[in-house]
């Protein structure tokens, strides 16, 4: 974007020549005026420029002079049929209004609240506030900006894709089982039996123990330290395995040692 309009800076450049002041009678190429117009951020910016250029006191603005200066710019813009933002015209009206109010004698005490106030006060406040923000914008723009004035460090990190495995919580299993039960209930012919889980676990354990395919002493399939419930569970598990023909149970003589082994084909599968 263009530089800000400083008092010392030319208003515009025409064919390389600095244009310090708006010539009154010379033909000005519309392009140059557009540059002038674009240079200002609005009527306040233009007023600030005029105040600085003519060395006016912002705390005691000579309204007649400022209004005349401002109007000559506006006239020039309009004469060249440049599209003028409405704000410029509104400001012209404000200036004229202030000027006329200053010409009027102040009503003595008629309007205590407003009467004592300088008609220029509001304009003064706005000019000072705008100028402060205008300078703040320049300072902000001078601060180093990431990407413009310095680069951010970013070193590559090569992520070897570690396959992430889903986490399963006990609650998930419960939910899955509940879903099965709910469906089973809908298809009434499916009967999902309720059964002691410990028997099932024991069945698996015994099958694993018998994986070697040899006969195992019946008593070895019991864990004496597990207590009586455990012994009962193991016994039921062996019976269940026998029922499902997953194990063979043999006893060569009455009251002799009992041996258990996995069914032949069960071992062959290993």
């Amino acid at each position: 974007m263009t530089e800000t309009a400083q008092p010392a800076n030319p208003v515009a450049h025409i064919h390389g020549e600095p244009l310090l002041e708006m010539p009154q009678d010379l033909y000005i190429p519309p392009d140059a005026l557009e540059v002038v117009l674009e240079t200002f951020q609005g009527p306040l910016d233009l007023l600030l420029y005029l105040i600085r250029k003519h060395n006016l006191d912002v705390l005691d603005i000579p309204m007649a002079q400022l209004t005349q200066q401002y109007m000559s710019y506006i006239d020039m813009m309009q004469r060249h049929r440049l599209e003028l933002a409405a704000e410029y015209l509104l400001m012209a009206a404000v200036l004229i209004e202030i000027k006329s109010r200053m010409l009027l004698p102040r009503p003595p005490k008629a309007n205590e609240e407003e009467g004592g106030e300088d008609p220029r006060a509001e304009l003064m406040r706005r000019l000072l506030e705008y100028e402060q923000m205008k300078l703040a914008a320049q300072k902000l723009n001078e601060l180093p900006q990431a990407g413009r004035d310095f680069e951010l460090v970013q070193v590559l990190i090569e992520r070897t894709v570690v396959e992430r495995l889903p986490n399963v919580a006990v609650e998930d299993l419960r939910q899955a089982w509940l879903a099965i039960l709910a469906r089973a209930k809908q298809n009434a012919h499916h009967k999902v039996r309720r059964e002691e889980l410990s028997v099932r676990e024991r069945m698996t354990h015994i099958l694993r123990t018998l994986r070697h395919g040899e006969f195992e002493a019946f008593e070895n399939l019991f864990d004496a330290n597990g207590g009586i419930p455990q012994l009962v569970v193991s016994f039921i598990a062996i019976l269940e395995l026998a029922k499902e023909t997953l194990v063979e149970i043999t006893q060569s003589e009455t009251l002799g040692n009992i041996y258990v082994r996995a069914s032949r084909n069960l071992v062959a599968a290993e």
Partner: protein, 200 residues
């Protein structure tokens, strides 16, 4: 890079596994060098199994600042935390690798940003009143897209206009820790000073 790290130990004495300061410093360094966004102390502490004391982490960060004192990059603290950046004096050289520079913002954009930064929270109407011109939505969109401003609420008046404020990212991008580090407004009464000088 520095041997000092070994002598430090985390404040948390009851930690079962003492944190190897030198090793943790490497992890901090790797994290900060691989991340463009600043990392807060809380995030940096997540890099350890053991709960760490802020002071312990800050001391290691200060060591890293020292380690990089003579290098082309520097570690510093901004609004959102700690981050590395190339030293600004490197920019003139780095621009040779990447000739397209981001566009400079127009005066209109910068003035709008300044008003939001110094007067926040403000509505579009507030900005227009100070600037004396209509503020196009494009200007606000530009600043929002950059992540420098966002809407922090609405003013409770008819129309419920949005209130804009600057973000921490704006501070990060300007390498600042807080709004207090912005150029002070007192220095900016150019007109008044000039007038005073002229009057005297």
């Amino acid at each position: 890079m520095s041997e000092q790290a070994e002598t430090l130990s985390p404040q948390n004495e009851e930690a079962a596994v003492p944190v190897d300061a030198a090793q943790f410093k490497q992890v901090l360094e790797a994290a900060l060098l691989t991340t463009q966004e600043p990392l807060s102390l809380a995030e940096l502490k997540k890099l350890s199994d053991t709960p760490l004391d802020n002071k312990f982490v800050e001391e290691l960060l200060e060591q890293l600042v020292q380690d990089y004192a003579d290098s082309g990059v520097e570690l510093g603290r901004v609004a959102n935390g700690w981050r590395f950046r190339a030293r600004p004096e490197m920019q003139v050289w780095l621009d040779r690798l990447n000739p397209q520079k981001p566009p400079r913002y127009s005066r209109a954009v910068m003035e709008t940003l300044a008003i939001i930064a110094y007067r926040q929270p403000v509505t579009r109407g507030d900005i227009e009143e100070i600037r004396g011109v209509v503020v196009s939505s494009q200007i606000l969109k530009t600043l929002e897209a950059r992540g420098w401003i966002d809407v922090v609420g609405t003013r409770d008046v008819p129309g419920k206009p949005s209130l804009f404020a600057t973000t921490k990212q704006m501070l990060d991008d300007l390498n600042l820790r807080s709004l207090q580090e912005l150029p002070s407004l007192e220095e900016m009464s150019g007109l008044l000073e000039q007038d005073e000088q002229a009057a005297s």
